[in-house]
Amino acid sequence: MEASNATVTAPPSSSATIPLVTLNDLLWLLYLYPVRWLGIFLPRWLLYGLGKLSNPILQFQFRRSKARAAVWIAQACHTTPEHARRVAGQSLSNTMFRRLDALLLLRPSSSKMLCCTAIDGLQHLEEAIARGKGVILLTGHFCANPVALRYLAAQGRSALSVLNQNPANRARGRFGKRFLQPRAVQLQKLANPDQVFVQDPDSALNVMRRLRANGLVFLQIDGRGGTAKVIEQVFLGVPWRIRSGIFEIVRLLDCAVVPTLCLGRSNGFRIRFDPMLPVARAASRETFVSANLPAFFSVVEKQIIEHPEEWRLWNRS
């Protein structure tokens, strides 16, 4: 992962034919309507029980994607094919439980349902806040992020999340893209209102406002590039296109960067803050990216290699 390999480019356009409805769309339809309404009144143990029951069906349905993911996991995490297959299965399962947890977060009493078993390295966060220039919580797309963010907000440490409103998903059909995706975004916004989307023209200014107020901003660096400027980089052994915005935010606003890792489910999760990343200063965007990209990426790569089953590799492999 050499910094010199990084280049900022515009993304290519996609012209692939997309089917009207896919299986993925039907699962989302099921989730957004009947399951969502069940989630309002069913106790967590029952909701999780339904999740466990449907897990074998999901595992069977996505067996081909799982097999493809396993090959990549084995290579990226330097593990055996057998272990990689188990990780792929666990990741799929955790992704489903993450969706169920999102329904629990819609409840007015959700804060009481969040069971945080440990917060490690809080002193690193305090130290970063003491700098007075805002803090970016740097991480990857881990399943426990939404519950951890909600918990932190309930503890008075609200963090502004920056999300992609329209993430690439080859399994989604035209119906899913036009009808279900906007509703999924609405649901996500209800579960955690403290978020902005990279597609909003105001998003960078919202981030600036939060950091200027010495607040927290939660950034997942491993998101695939969209319509914005992206950096092409090898990440976990494969070519990756990420948005370059985070580097510009850190360069211009001189905020602290604290690697953050959230693991588990709503009935037992933990949060870890690591020491602040040393940031090399540079006048230009390109120099800054070259100087800091390896450190930013390697910290998230390490998180993923340590806990691949907790990472949302599902739509990314």
Binding site: A10, P201, A204, M208, T227
Partner: protein, 101 residues
């Protein structure tokens, strides 16, 4: 009014020109000031990369030695060149007595 402003050291015309210059420089646009359609170009740049507006605002702060108030960090203000000019002038005027915000 303009005469009064000029006499007191504030030149709205100059402010607009400087803002347009900062805009071109900070976004690395390859065009002349007279060819700049500010709002169209801003929308185009922000549409491609929302962080572009951050480059522009921080460059404005550096150029005019001001700090934007948090509540004024909105795309609506930045998009409206007339309002932006008035705001920058106001911030510069406020910073004059003690030399800083």
């Amino acid at each position: 009014m303009e005469q009064l402003l000029t006499n007191s050291g504030f030149r709205p015309r100059e402010t607009v020109d400087r803002i347009r210059r900062v805009f071109i420089d900070s976004l690395h646009l390859n065009l002349r000031e007279e060819d700049l359609h500010y709002e169209d170009k801003l929308d185009e740049s922000v549409g491609l990369d929302s962080v572009a507006v951050l480059d522009f605002v921080t460059a404005l702060e550096k150029e005019f030695q001001i700090t934007f108030e948090p509540e004024m960090l909105t795309i609506d203000l930045v998009r409206d060149l007339k309002e932006l000019t008035a705001y920058v002038d106001e911030r510069v005027a406020r910073s004059v007595p003690d030399g800083r915000q």
